[in-house]
């Protein structure tokens, strides 16, 4: 009986402490690891985006270096991040410039970031640097394979739709007078969120000033 009492004390101390600590600790030790994972994901997202931009720039640099034709690279490195680059000729422009679609892709962890850009390589040009004009850069986070015609085509189609709607908008801007353009925009003021209404007139003024003419 005396031993039982002692065992009781021992058991109480052990079980008591265990019962108090373990659940508490488990409850408390939830946040950390998941947070680090999220931060890493954020890092991947940013790194892939930065690498894709660097990729576009490296592609443009190649075009400036007067490199022509289809160019496909995998596992190029910016820092420690690998990116793929595809420069695909799409024809010749009215100024006899070479037209390209420039794809830059970076996959980091589960995250993919692709930039697709139009690039016009002024040609013929005796020697580098060749003037290169990039435009309509478009991005996607879908895991396309920029080395495969099929994926490239679907990207071109998706981006094409956006470019078309941009042309519609620009056509409208060009088609209307500044006053009409401004009044159309001002007429929306009442329907805007209150946070935007305050400076809307200034915004419209800028838009009017910078309206595309032709």
């Amino acid at each position: 009986m005396a031993t039982n009492e002692r065992k009781g004390i021992a058991l109480f101390l052990v079980l008591g402490l265990t019962a108090v600590f373990v659940p508490v600790l488990l409850y408390l030790s939830q946040t950390g690891s998941s947070q680090v994972r999220l931060a890493m994901k954020y890092h991947e997202v940013h790194q892939s985006e930065s690498a894709a931009i660097a990729g576009v720039n490296s592609g443009l640099s190649r075009l400036r270096g007067n490199m022509t034709g289809l160019q496909q690279f995998t596992n190029l490195l910016i820092g420690e991040i690998a990116y793929d680059l595809t420069i695909q000729p799409t024809g010749t422009g009215i100024l006899t410039q070479e037209l390209y679609h420039l794809f830059s892709k970076c996959t980091k962890g589960q995250h993919t970031f692709i930039l697709m850009s139009d690039a016009e390589q002024m040609y013929p040009d005796p020697d580098p640097p060749v003037t290169v004009i990039p435009h309509d850069t478009w991005n996607t986070i879908e895991p396309y394979d920029i080395n495969l015609a099929a994926d490239v085509t679907s990207m071109e189609n998706l981006r094409g739709q956006d470019v078309l709607s941009y042309e519609e908008t620009t056509n409208y801007e060009k088609s209307v007078s500044k006053a009409a353009y401004a009044s159309e925009l001002m007429s929306k003021r009442k329907r805007l969120p209150t946070e935007l209404q305050g400076d809307w007139a200034n915004v419209v003024a800028i838009l009017e000033k910078e309206k595309l003419a032709f």
Partner: protein, 169 residues
């Protein structure tokens, strides 16, 4: 041995109880103190984590769209080329529409509103692009209107970032 004789007769002595209770109180005291400290600390950590998530999510959403945008319309640098900040941002997106991000201090949200660049009604996204953001400012830093810098903060947690607009109008 004699004590065991007596314990058999009388059970646990008063002093045993006393010491037992003291030790129990001591342990519980420490545990409680520790636990409450940790709980407070954990609350703070959880809060920081949530804020970070909000920042990351909204930041990434804005970057993706702004990167392809055509030009920044509001804010613009001051006449003296000094930078200019505002709680709202207006820009032309890739398709030429006028898009605005604006901070709603009351609900600590950053919302997105699409204003057709031509006929049509403004549409505010039903879901905010940023939640739990106590203060937000967009800053125009260059006359080219191709860089927008932003700063978010909530309860001492900050996020400074910027986006360069690859496209032009």
């Amino acid at each position: 041995m004699y004590q065991t004789c007596r314990r058999n007769g009388r059970g646990t002595t008063f002093i045993e109880l006393l010491i037992g209770t003291t030790i129990l109180a001591l342990i519980l005291g420490f545990v409680a103190r520790w636990f409450f400290m940790q709980r407070e600390y954990q609350k703070r950590l959880t809060r920081i984590s949530d804020i970070q998530n909000d920042f990351r999510r909204s930041s990434w959403e804005m970057i993706q769209e702004l990167q392809m945008a055509r030009t920044i319309i509001w804010p613009r640098v001051n006449a003296d080329n000094s930078l200019r900040s505002d709680t709202k941002l207006v820009f032309k997106d890739f398709t030429g529409r006028i898009v605005s991000y604006y901070h709603v201090p009351g609900s600590k949200e950053v919302r997105r509103c699409v204003i057709p660049n031509g006929p049509g009604d403004p549409v505010v996204n039903p879901v905010p692009i940023g939640r739990g953001i106590a203060s937000m400012s967009f800053t125009a830093t260059s006359p080219t209107n191709r860089v927008i810098s932003y700063c978010m903060s909530t309860d001492g947690v900050f996020s400074l970032d910027a986006v360069y607009l690859i496209n032009t109008d």
